[in-house]
Symmetry: C2
């Protein structure tokens, strides 16, 4: 399925302003300003000024929060987003709920305690982000994430992402029965997304520390309906059969 | 959600020809002709003449199969359908693959050996059929069954049915995580069906014989999205709040 750009000039705009460049700029800006965010339940709250507001919005990280403060814009970062900025891009320090800085090991433990699936979900999130996909929650479509080729204002989400881990009790338990498969595939079809299953193999590494992540392997599969009628009428196949 | 009739006169037609009456006629006709079907894998095959062909089609039981035989019409009955005609309506005898008649106890064992979820699915199927719903496979919508108020040629399916059984390993394992919930609810919404969850409580009866079925309890729940915006704008609620 080809990317569905929003409007005529969107593709040109996206090509002129690659996501990798935007994220690099954000990384550099947050590093320079020694940015830090405060843990709050399953989110981290980050206050930034105009330039970084723009960069966070363009990188599609976090959600802006409306507050009475005029000179600062607060952003609410999801767990994967906060850990990605802190652990992967190394441009954000996280402070605990007691206002003390916490390191990546502690943050990893905290995230895991809040969400059993965090190690698998974070591996999937970072895997896609590192490849310059914009990754957002997929809850609206009953999947774990949706992945955009560029900013959602320019393009529709291309992939509906489910994170699985065969034989792993920490996985989300999706796609184990046919009815779930049918439901997911049918919904993906009706919202013009391709189902992308990321199967995470922990390679017996467990979840003790974030260093485990390096050993996790990610296997990507896209799943689509196979329509025998359509395939039969495919001219190239028909021609091959005739030959 | 109101039933969506197909065309203007469909509701009148349905009212004039209740499903309960059609099924009674079929039951009486099959009993008189001492009808029997042959087990074949997960189906039972039944050969009938013109009158019963019409009744089976009107009751929406089985699927007609195209064969070279001119005077007989073959129908392929699903497992729940065959067991319903044999065990519940007592109007069909079933012959095994060795061409010997088998009783309901043996048929029950056979069905269970073919499909682990059979006891739960059959309870759900018969529960709805006894209440004059037309029940068909829900695989197209990623659910276990769909339920129609009358024949599918007159009305769209109203309910997408999932069969659950809390804490039961034989259940289909659906709706255990939020993403599955979101997926199912979203799909049901987009195809204008209400999600009906039938939760079967086996009351510690196991699955040894079909007599267990009498002790199974069925709990019905319909599940819908709750839209806070819509509810807030509901005039009656606003008025009550103002008072």
């Amino acid at each position: 399925m080809a990317p569905r750009w929003k409007g005529k000039s969107s593709e040109t705009k996206a090509l002129a302003d690659p996501m990798s460049k935007i994220v690099l700029e954000l990384q550099s800006s947050l590093t320079q300003s020694e940015a830090h965010a405060l843990l709050s339940g399953c989110s981290a709250l980050l206050a930034v000024e105009a330039e970084q507001t723009d960069l966070l919005n363009r990188a599609c990280l976090g959600r802006p929060i409306v507050t009475a403060e005029k000179d600062k814009q607060w952003f609410q970062l999801g767990m994967e987003e906060a850990f990605y900025l802190s652990h992967s891009l190394k441009c954000l320090r996280i402070f605990g709920e007691d206002n003390c800085p916490i390191n990546n090991e502690e943050l990893w433990q905290y995230m895991n305690s809040k969400k059993r699936t965090f190690p698998l979900f974070y591996k999937a999130y970072s895997h896609l982000r590192e490849r310059n996909w914009v990754v957002r929650s997929g809850s609206q479509y009953g999947v774990d994430f949706v992945a955009y080729r560029h900013h959602p204002s320019l393009v529709h989400a291309e992939y509906a992402v489910l994170v699985l881990s065969e034989g792993d009790d920490d996985a989300n338990g999706r796609l184990r029965v046919w009815s779930d498969f049918h439901c997911t595939i049918r919904l993906c079809g009706s919202v013009a997304k391709t189902l992308l299953v990321l199967n995470i193999n922990k390679n017996d590494q467990g979840t003790v520390s974030p260093s485990c992540l390096e050993h996790y392997a990610v296997e990507e599969r896209t799943i689509m309906r196979w329509n025998p009628e359509q395939c039969r009428e495919d001219q190239t196949i028909v021609e091959n059969v005739i030959k």
